[in-house]
């Protein structure tokens, strides 16, 4: 395998800093062991917490006896849901969405536990070792209840009720129809059906969750340290549930060792720690251990989708129907339809399908609650592209051909999809063509044919991805989901001409300190090394919506870019005054130097940002008339309702029919993420997302037994891909700028997951095609592949 990364010719404007490969500013501390992650924060006299967790999937709590634990030397207190209910309010999830039941949960469960790992008490002690010793001494008496361990059973009338407040486990159900599907299905040449089952997975950031709370009794103020993707929204929730004003709480996020969506919600453990610190008037900290992380942090992706496509005999899709059922686990940390709805919304993908209907059911089960996981909508690309492959298989057509005849082309854009999503400046057709050519599709088919004669089974999978990246406020409003999509940033040119800047996003590996600095440097006209980005502290950063989806570039860096542009405007006005010119239009700044346009040439002046900053702060009398001193810009920005990037994944596999094991061959990705701020960072994101997707398809699986016991509580059982399971990826970049966003940015980072899931499943199906079997669920474990072949052989016998 050779590695190759090529950038296609840029169509956009010329930038001097955006688009540069700059090694990251944050690397030094991370490489030298001097970074500060949550557990590295020194907090004098902090006590350590350990949670007592339910060993049952579903049980009534009859009593909790904390006496023995309390008398254990070194233990400071032990609290349960009862005490916490006095100190905190419940979480209510009740967005105004039709077909969605509101849900409420106390800070810790009081009456019953709802999954294996549900926290029932919290021990606070002088260190974690002693806290664990004492946690073993907390005696909880349970009455075990029947557990709902499967979403299909959970919908049945006789199923046990996960949430006693609800009349059903079907917490959310919506049906939508766009166009006229019924009539089209009635008249179609063919109806092709396909099913897709995705299994339960979990995020496994290398740094688990954790937090530390410091209560200042004199100031009545809480400082809450937590690795969070969304410092400000978390502060709002935390203050609210503690009955404090937002002026009384500061959230500080130190370096984060990976998040992937697991560090968004205000978790019950975090609220418990904050409440305890206030109650005890002593600092309290908690670091989740890996077993807790696997059992009880947050799970994702357990979705079942069935599609029906009405198609003409030449493979044209006339209408599409989808039924989506999602396993939401035991509690609602997010609106229950939040993730499943996006799956449905995106399902038509890059294809011209205006007649589309879907039915989305979300079911409560006695399992760890579900939350967004890097590409919460990940299954959608597999479903769309798996349906395309199913059509090709049933009609005996080439899968590339089926895609081509249905796909949007440049002339169709801008395109309003059946679900009212606006696609602009995307290139599915062009990237597919490029991918096919680059991969050598025809040559592969020959190779595949030859290999089959030798008893070797190669397969090629294609997955075209349309990735929703940045959600604007209008999206939230339309969806009825609490929250907005806007973002905030500030840029300050300091008196010495260096630049501090901040935004509401918070990084967990994305390299924002570099990419946001590049955006600011570009917008302002300085060198990125003179820009320093400060994130994660709610007293320092402006109130923004944080990092989720793939909004870092458009919302985060985009807003900072706009703020920097405003700062530049002010800088140039000052420059004009200092140079004795009327019109700043004839000036520009690059690398902190002021250039003047004389005839058709840009000529560097003696003036630099240092002089201008000095004037702005220390000599305001010299400023243009009416101008305020200083150079401090605060800016908010609300992106378009939705921004899209796109990609094509082409994956070659070889399936060992005897063992069921799949090996990877070439893996090519053609990606169009618009103008990219730092290609190296973007490549890193594509690599990471794709391998995370591959891990999910091939290895990772949260397994519950029929009683609801989680069998995958260690990294020996929950299998993450290692360097030996990760194929080498070849990347080709398109850079089609988005015309509506700052600097033509689009954002990316989740599409790799979507593409991998679809491409790998399609590739394995292609390899298995001579056997007349196909994969319909993940993971594609050797055992599953073998069972397909085994069953087929048994049938043939």
């Amino acid at each position: 395998m050779t590695e190759q990364t090529r950038e296609m010719k840029k169509k956009g404007e010329d930038f001097s800093v955006i688009g540069k490969r700059i090694p990251r500013k944050e690397d030094y501390r991370l490489l030298t062991g001097t970074a500060k992650f949550l557990d590295d924060m020194e907090i004098p006299k902090a006590l350590h917490a350990c949670f007592v967790r339910s060993p049952h999937a579903h049980a009534r709590i009859l009593s909790i006896n904390t006496e023995k634990a309390l008398s254990f030397p070194g233990v400071v207190t032990v609290v349960t849901g009862k005490e916490l209910a006095e100190w905190t309010t419940s979480a209510v999830m009740a967005p105004p969405i039709e077909g969605l039941y509101p849900m409420e949960m106390t800070t810790l469960p009081i009456d019953k536990v709802r999954f294996d790992g549900d926290p029932v008490a919290c021990v606070v002690a002088v260190d974690r070792y002693i806290a664990e010793d004492a946690a073993e001494l907390v005696e909880v008496e349970y009455e075990v209840l029947p557990a709902v361990t499967n979403m299909f059973d959970g919908m049945k009338e006789e199923a046990a009720r996960v949430d006693d407040q609800l009349p059903t486990n079907l917490v959310s159900h919506q049906i939508y129809e766009y166009g006229n599907t019924k009539e089209i299905f009635a008249q179609a040449d063919h109806i092709v059906e396909a099913t897709f089952s995705q299994h339960r997975q979990t995020h496994v950031p290398m740094e688990t969750r954790g937090c530390a709370a410091v209560w200042d009794e004199g100031r009545q103020h809480l400082t809450f340290y937590v690795g969070t993707q969304v410092p400000h929204p978390l502060r709002t929730s935390l203050a609210g549930r503690l009955g404090l004003k937002e002026t009384q709480v500061n959230v500080i996020s130190p370096d984060i060792g990976g998040a992937f969506g697991q560090k968004i919600a205000l978790y019950r453990e975090e609220l418990t720690i904050a409440a305890l610190a206030r109650h005890l008037k002593r600092p309290v900290r908690w670091r989740e251990d890996r077993m807790e992380n696997l059992l009880a942090a947050s799970h994702a992706r357990q979705d079942y989708v069935k599609t029906r496509a009405a198609v003409t005999k030449d493979g044209r899709v006339l209408a599409l129907e989808a039924e989506i059922i999602s396993d939401f686990g035991a509690y609602s940390f997010f609106p229950a339809n939040y993730m499943a709805r996006v799956i449905a919304m995106l399902l038509p993908g890059p294809y011209k399908i205006q007649d589309y209907a879907y039915d989305v059911k979300v079911v409560l089960t006695n399992k760890c609650p579900a939350g967004p996981f890097r590409a919460p909508m990940a299954v959608t690309s597999w479903v769309t592209e798996g349906t395309m492959d199913a059509i090709a298989r049933e009609l005996n057509l080439d899968p590339v051909h089926v895609r081509q005849i249905n796909m949007l082309r440049e002339e169709d854009l801008p395109y309003l999809t059946a679900t009212n999503e606006l696609y602009e400046d995307i290139t599915p057709y062009e990237t597919l063509e490029k991918g096919i050519a680059e991969f050598g599709y025809g040559e592969f088919r020959k190779r595949q044919e030859a290999a089959r004669k030798e008893g070797r089974y190669l397969g090629l999978g294609i997955c075209v991805v349309v990735e929703s990246t940045t959600y604007g406020s209008e999206f939230y409003k339309k969806a009825g989901i609490p929250g907005t999509g806007h973002e905030a940033a500030w840029v300050r040119v300091e008196p010495t001409g260096v630049v501090n800047a901040s935004a509401g996003i918070m990084g967990s590996g994305q390299g924002y300190e570099t990419t946001v600095a590049q955006a600011v440097a570009e917008g302002l006209g300085v060198n990125p090394e003179d820009v320093s980005i400060h994130l994660g502290d709610t007293l320092l950063a402006p109130y923004g919506m944080g990092s989720r989806g793939a909004r870092g570039a458009v919302a985060g860096a985009g807003t900072a870019y706009l703020a920097a542009r405003e700062a530049q405007k002010k800088v140039l006005q000052i420059a004009a005054k200092l140079l004795g010119l009327d019109d700043p239009q004839l000036l520009k700044m690059e690398g902190g130097n002021i250039f003047r346009r004389i005839e058709n040439e840009w000529v560097q002046t003696d003036l630099t940002l240092v002089d201008i900053a000095k004037t702005a702060y220390l000599n305001p009398m010299e400023l243009p008339e009416g101008m305020e001193p200083g150079i401090e810009i605060h800016k908010t920005y609300d992106p378009p309702p939705m921004t899209y990037s796109n990609a094509v994944h082409l994956c070659e596999v070889e399936v060992d029919i005897e063992t069921g094991k799949t090996e990877f061959g070439r893996y090519l990705i053609v990606e169009d993420a618009g103008n990219v701020i730092n290609p190296q960072v973007v490549e890193g994101q594509v690599h990471g997302a794709t391998i995370l997707g591959i891990g999910g398809v091939m290895l990772e699986e949260v397994v519950y037994d029929e009683n609801g016991q989680n069998l995958t509580g260690s990294l020996m059982d929950y299998l993450l891909p290692t360097a030996c399971e990760a194929p080498t990826l070849e990347l080709v970049h398109f850079n089609t700028p988005n015309r509506k966003t700052p600097a033509g940015l689009k954002g990316m980072s989740e599409g790799g997951v979507m593409g991998a899931i679809g491409a790998v499943c399609n590739a394995v199906n292609d390899a298995l095609s001579p056997f007349g079997v196909k994969v319909e669920k993940q993971p594609l474990s050797p055992g599953y592949i073998r069972s397909l072949i085994r069953n087929k052989e048994a049938k043939n016998r």
Binding site: D133, R290, M291, T659, K661, T712, S781, P782
Partner: protein, 297 residues
Amino acid sequence: MMKPASFTYKRAESLEEVFELLEEHMDEAKIIAGGQSLVPMMNMRLARPAYLIDINNVKGLDYIREENGRIHIGALTRQCDLEQSPLLKEKCPIIPHGVTKIGHYSIRQRGTLGGSLVHADPSAELPVLASLFNANIHIASSEEQRTVPATEFFITIYTTDLMPTEIVTAVDFPVMDPHEGWSYQDFTRRVGDFAIVSVAVTVKLDQEEKVENMRMVIGGAETIPFNLQEMLQSYIGKKADDEWLTSLAEEAVSMLEPGSDIHASEEDRRELLHVLIPKAVKEAIQRAEQKGDRVHG
């Protein structure tokens, strides 16, 4: 829970000291060598010895040497040393090869031969290899020194013949015949994982290319490494043709009762063995033939 329960730590400087401590604390004590299997269990509080006896400072348990046609290895020998040993590479190459499959590079820096044998995971490489050669396991207590053949040492999963007052000090086994071919095949979901099933084989062919001698052990399919020595007797002295191999694989698999877990079902394990056994035997024969050629030619 990821912090171990309390224990008293005792560092032994000699075997005598180890014996004394074992006799004093019996079942409450646990010996730590590399700790690569024990400490994870302690961190999860699945093992909670009251006394931890550290033998890393005990002298004379770390060696690999050849005496009278047998390889002797001290129990405290690190897995990375087994992997790198020129003596083993020459005289018993299946061992360094098999050892590379243990966990990962840094695990092997600390993990020991004795620790792995005593842990007795039926899919682990060193128990499989010890069983393959039916190595003598040297066991000592203050009372006596005894040796037990590996096939009798492993009782069931995580359980051996070792008494609470005893310690494994060494193993010995015959050097491989220079004409012997070998193979170690395993099946894992990921590199470095415990094998779902594994097959270790040695084969020696006679002048007529008939099987003169053969060993085979299956890992991961039973509660102990499963040594097929008895079954193999009827396959010795015959020409290793396709029919011979099919019959051998069929019979071997039929003798096993593999279990199911989240990584593979019983049926998966049987099927995998149907693939791995012929693959291993063929590779071993191929190696034996190559060696034969060199000798004859």
